[in-house]
Symmetry: C2
Subunit: 343 residues, 2 copies
Amino acid sequence: MELDARKEKILKAIIQTYLETGEPVGSRTISKYSDLKLSSATIRNEMSDLEEMGYIIQPHTSAGRIPSDKGYRFYVDQIIREKENQVNEMQEIMIQRVDRVELLLKHMAQLLATNTNYATMISGPTSNLTKLKFIQLSKVEEKKLLIVVVVEGNIIRNSFVNLEEDVTHEDVLNLNILLNNSLNGLTIQEINLGMISKLKEQAGIHKQVIELVLNEVSEAIQAQDADLQIYTSGATNIFKYPELSDTQKASQLLNTLEHKELLKGLFDDKQLPAVSDPQIQVYIGDETPIQSMKDCSVVTANYVLGDGLRGTIGIIGPKRMDYEKVVSTLRTLVSQLNDTFNQ
Amino acid sequence: MELDARKEKILKAIIQTYLETGEPVGSRTISKYSDLKLSSATIRNEMSDLEEMGYIIQPHTSAGRIPSDKGYRFYVDQIIREKENQVNEMQEIMIQRVDRVELLLKHMAQLLATNTNYATMISGPTSNLTKLKFIQLSKVEEKKLLIVVVVEGNIIRNSFVNLEEDVTHEDVLNLNILLNNSLNGLTIQEINLGMISKLKEQAGIHKQVIELVLNEVSEAIQAQDADLQIYTSGATNIFKYPELSDTQKASQLLNTLEHKELLKGLFDDKQLPAVSDPQIQVYIGDETPIQSMKDCSVVTANYVLGDGLRGTIGIIGPKRMDYEKVVSTLRTLVSQLNDTFNQ
DNA sequence: TATTAGCACTCTTTTCAGTGGAGTGCTAAC
DNA sequence: GTTAGCACTCCACTGAAAAGAGTGCTAATA
């Protein structure tokens, strides 16, 4: 059987109605509200076909129909294709230039959540290719150095290191100059063993200090990768959707959102059901790599700050989420982010 | 009527049983399991008295009894008085000396949550009296300074400031010396207008820079106070208690825990139902200053790091929480914190 | 031939009465 | 003062019946 124009129209009407109400849609509803001018009986026949083709499901014999995952997928692909060539009108979400990326991301997660009424998550930028911009050692106390590392994108990392022997302020000054001259502009991968031993030589008596410092530096940078920062917001929005609010489902979902390490699965796989635009992915129901979200849909988008800084924004909502709005909001947001940081 | 010894014993037995089961407690249960050797009929008479006195409640005519808020309060006061003079055996929770207080607090919230199976929150230390320990300006780019402020307790704040005119590296060096010499060891209140204008004089051409920098410094410090950092953890633990799991209650509670600004109410009021130990407060049901927690109990404890750094730890659970464990855990934790930082 | 009206049928949801169980309060006996 | 016994109350659960929503099928219609 083929999905002709009329079937498509009916399918879209069913899905749209369901997105609004969250209730199974009957044939009469469609015949009344869609502009097809067909009787409920005709719609019934078509619905029967659509069900056979797998686009819609009957929860039970005498209920209306709801979209299946396949139905949602049809709808989403459709939407995205239609939107693709349109110019997105500016959203209210404005990005202010902020010097600290973490704050920006946290703030953005909140904005997105209140704007969309879904749960949101943003993974902090990973720094595999990130260039070191600036290192500053300061002697704060006897035998205690403060290390401040600034990487591309103006992300700041601090840590303290306790030394075994004290150093003078002059030593620290020289070390700063040495480190900045040798390391600035390099990525973490480029700081290899050869370079390190050369540094140790140049540092003279402070070999040990150099070692400790470099450890901290690399840890500070890699910390980002290891315990990948993930910010979530609007988790309780899920209670706005009855189909997700029952205690068990809500509990599982919220648990995943609270223990952010459980979300990692979403940010690794990049070979999943892709949509024409490589930036944006839509996972419907079982397509999601995370078990506790199998009753939800998840939309993710990748963003890029500067050269090597990439991250992912995700929105989690009911399967009947407003895909159109979500996709276009994400698209706008990501392109704004890219613009802001690549200007 | 008076609460004699036997009534007390029965009341305690009722509450303890209810804490375990979460179900209304009948007279027969008490007569069987408590060591009172009384028949259910006698217990019934006493229970009737206890109800009249307001310590227990009957959900409906033919149900057992559950504790009223007044009953819980009796129980809690009792527990705390008993525990008061005991030496608390060491808990498994160990505090590792960590250089960054924020991380420590976050980590502690998590530990507490998994340990107790309740929701936890910790307010970051407020810094009214905090002394400045160290300031470091660094030129990161043309016309852009990185300011790192370390205050007592080794809390680090960073921010960037954009200058209108560029400064040389030497200038920055001198500024650093000037600022550290003048400001270190002072509290934010002590950095007053007189001091500021004196600094401006000494700085010579860099008046404007000084102004910008001082603004950032004071903002960096006060930021802590303004958007008081609050860390929460274990929010989804509430689903472990059926009486809190129904959609509406859970939704409200989780919402409060997510929008942490709603929690502030808990950290201001210090004149509420106090318990003998000034450090620890127990709010039962309606005693809580936060509406969405009126079906819960909240236990808070204050901690002190160094001179002026104070904060609050809170535990949120069902009214039938294990007060004994919670109070003693909190007491141990707080005293460990105090010891660690005051040594 | 495609569409539509009509009707029997199915399944869920709601309502309601009936039943069993848990626990009480009261009275009388110990 | 304590306890045994019993009538009573109320909730939780069950199953039956009624109401409602929506379908599938058939026969009539344009």
